[in-house]
């Protein structure tokens, strides 16, 4: 059995929805900043209901694409649809979309409630009950009357999520939402994203360069390098296509296990770790390995794949 111990159980509640209509579709988006080609003919599809991870190293073009979709910058070429509305319809394309681009910044001299009121008025969602409900959801209700300048970065990010939910969006676009947060803050934001996806039925498009973070919460991904799309699809499909994976085994008699593993042709790159053995193996051979080990009376306590996405990401980068 392959376990993914760090994966949040909430993820399992979000089914892959490849057959459903697209929440976001981009066609041939290009953008150039002076000498830098930030985006080069990028086309991607975000299935409705998914938590979609948009991955790439710093400067790959993630924020540029998000800013185009959010209406902050203009594309040199290409177009996009949001929940069936074309970008040719101007600002109305964002009718059912909400965004948190980069770090959440607010009117610092105003309270959390006043900021929410101002932003709610823009779309007619400034009812006190609605605002309080969202502040409650994001754990900020008790601090609603405090000025935002007294908030930590984590609290501002949560307020950023709360404001993004004000218009009851069907698509939520988040650009590096955990940037600048400590591990606890990152964990909180991840939990909120999952909670929102589950409870509010929102499609989430999330950009990040933190592969581990994406692997924990996303159902679908796209990878971008130097402004060009390198891959996209559901995480499960991508992992199934991966030939070699790194696997960690916890066994009863490690010396016996190492001797056994060294003698078979299924595995390579055997490393002895502090409490486990790391091996490289072709993904489809894992059941055969488990079978052979148990027939040789080697008791396996756990077998886990680690950093699958990182493995995939690095192999793609090498190809580029």
């Amino acid at each position: 059995m392959i376990d993914t111990p760090e994966k949040d159980p909430l993820v399992e509640n979000i089914p892959p929805l490849q057959s459903m209509p697209m929440a976001l579709e981009c066609y041939g988006l290009s953008k150039r900043f002076k000498t830098i080609q930030a985006l080069d003919d990028v086309s991607l599809q975000v299935p409705t209901g998914s938590i979609f991870g948009f991955l790439g190293p710093n400067g790959a073009g993630k924020s540029t694409l998000i800013r185009i979709v959010a209406g902050l910058i203009r594309a040199d070429a290409g177009n996009f649809n949001i929940l069936g509305r074309s970008s040719y319809s101007g600002h109305k394309v964002r009718q059912e979309m909400s965004t948190l681009v980069d770090r959440a910044d607010f009117y610092k001299n105003l309270s959390a409630s006043q900021n929410m009121k101002i932003l709610g008025r823009l779309t007619g969602h400034d009812q006190d009950d609605h605002i309080n409900e969202l502040l409650q959801l994001l754990g900020l209700y008790e601090r609603r009357k405090d000025k935002v300048k007294t908030f930590s970065q984590g609290m501002k990010q949560r307020l950023g999520l709360a404001q993004a939910l004000l218009p009851n969006p069907r698509l939520l676009v988040l650009d590096e939402p955990t940037t600048g947060l400590d591990p606890q803050g990152m964990h909180e934001i991840r939990d909120f994203i999952l909670k929102i996806a589950r409870e509010q039925q929102v499609t989430i498009f999330l950009s990040s360069h933190l592969l581990h973070e994406v692997e924990l919460i996303c159902s679908d991904i796209a990878l971008i390098f130097n402004g060009k799309l390198a891959a996209q699809g559901s995480l499960s499909t991508i992992f199934q296509k991966m030939e070699n994976v790194t696997v960690e085994l916890e066994v009863e008699h490690s010396e016996l296990a190492i001797k056994f593993l060294a003698g078979i042709d299924l595995v390579s790159d055997i490393k002895v770790l502090a409490n486990a053995i790391s091996i490289e193996i072709i993904y489809s051979n894992i059941p055969e390995l488990i079978h052979r080990m148990s027939t040789h009376n080697i008791n396996i306590f756990s077998i886990s794949q680690r950093n699958r996405l990182e493995h995939y990401f690095l192999s793609l980068m090498e190809q580029k």
């Binding site: 800013r67 959010a70 209406g71 902050l72 910058i73 203009r74 101007g90 600002h91 109305k92 394309v93 964002r94 009718q95 979309m97 909400s98 965004t99 948190l100 681009v101 980069d102 770090r103 959440a104 910044d105 607010f106 009117y107 610092k108 001299n109 105003l110 006043q114 101002i118 932003l119 008025r121 823009l122 779309t123 007619g124 950023g160 404001q163 218009p167």
Partner: protein, 280 residues
């Protein structure tokens, strides 16, 4: 409806900033101070005026009354007010860019035109409130402190305006002053859409005004031909409403030029704003 809500938002933001009250607080302190000083230092002037004109005219009330005080204060401050007005106009776009709040505001399903109009409207409403407050403070407090009466205007001799006539002329004077200050706000908005800090637009606005003021007042032949086309030539046009007869033709020519400058600066500002990539 959305424009109304957006403008309401912008006014809320403007009046939540301390800088919006700097000018108001300054005048709240300085105008009573001047009116007090005016009362203290005009007794000998009053005597001289009364001696000089009493044989020709009968002056109702004191010649150094609230109207004359308000006229005197307006003459003194019309160069300083633009700086205080530009503090708000200069911040209206640049402040949001600097704080990063545009990232949230501009991603909502609202057109850039609506955002621009609402911010411009809010700035103009602030400018109007500022001018009205200044007017109420100078004229209202002046009349309470120094009383009413006929107003003396020194223009090509001495002109005496009856109390009721003076009051209505002040209304026109504040109206023309508002137009001039609306132009200052438009220039501040023009600079505000171009930069990402609020100090630049204030300095830029003042630099433009000072430069054009110099060109429009320098008595050099080389500048004389262009002076009628410079908005600063008409910055003190409010004074003309106290002339007799009122030169309506000149006033409306100046009004037209100021208005066309407002349209020009706001038009260019919108073109820049509508095409601008928001990267901060």
């Amino acid at each position: 409806m959305i424009l109304l809500k957006l403008t309401q938002n912008e006014l809320y933001k403007i009046f939540s900033l301390v800088r919006s009250y700097i000018g108001i607080m300054l005048f709240t302190v300085i105008v009573p101070l001047i009116l007090w000083g005016y009362g203290m230092g005009t007794s000998h002037i009053q005597g001289q005026i009364e001696n000089a004109v009493s044989e020709m005219f009968f002056i109702e009330g004191s010649p150094t009354n609230g109207y004359t005080a308000a006229y005197f204060i307006m003459n003194f401050f019309w160069v300083h007010i633009p700086f205080l007005i530009a503090l708000v106009g200069g911040d209206i776009f640049a402040g949001e860019q600097a704080n990063g709040t545009f990232r949230i505001y501009a991603t909502r399903p609202i057109s850039r035109l609506s955002i621009f109009i609402s911010k411009t409207l809010a700035t103009m409403i602030y400018t109007l409130i500022f001018v009205l407050y200044f007017g109420l403070l100078t004229l209202g407090l002046g009349l309470i402190w120094h009383g009413g009466g006929d107003m003396l205007v020194f223009h090509e001799g001495v002109l005496i305006l009856e109390s009721g006539d003076a009051a209505s002329r002040f209304l026109f004077a504040y109206g023309f002053s508002f137009m001039n200050m609306a132009l200052v706000s438009s220039i501040a908005i023009f600079f505000s859409v171009m930069v990402r800090n609020a100090v630049g637009p204030v300095i830029g606005t003042m630099a433009v005004i000072i430069f054009f003021l110099m060109v429009s007042t320098l008595p050099l032949d080389v500048f004389r031909n262009i002076q009628p086309y410079l908005f600063t030539t008409y910055f003190s046009n409010w004074e003309q409403v106290f002339y007799d007869p009122i030169p309506w033709g000149d006033l409306f020519r100046g009004f037209g030029l100021i208005f066309s400058n407002i349209i020009f600066f706001l038009g260019v500002a919108y073109l820049i704003f509508s095409r601008r990539d928001i990267l901060s």
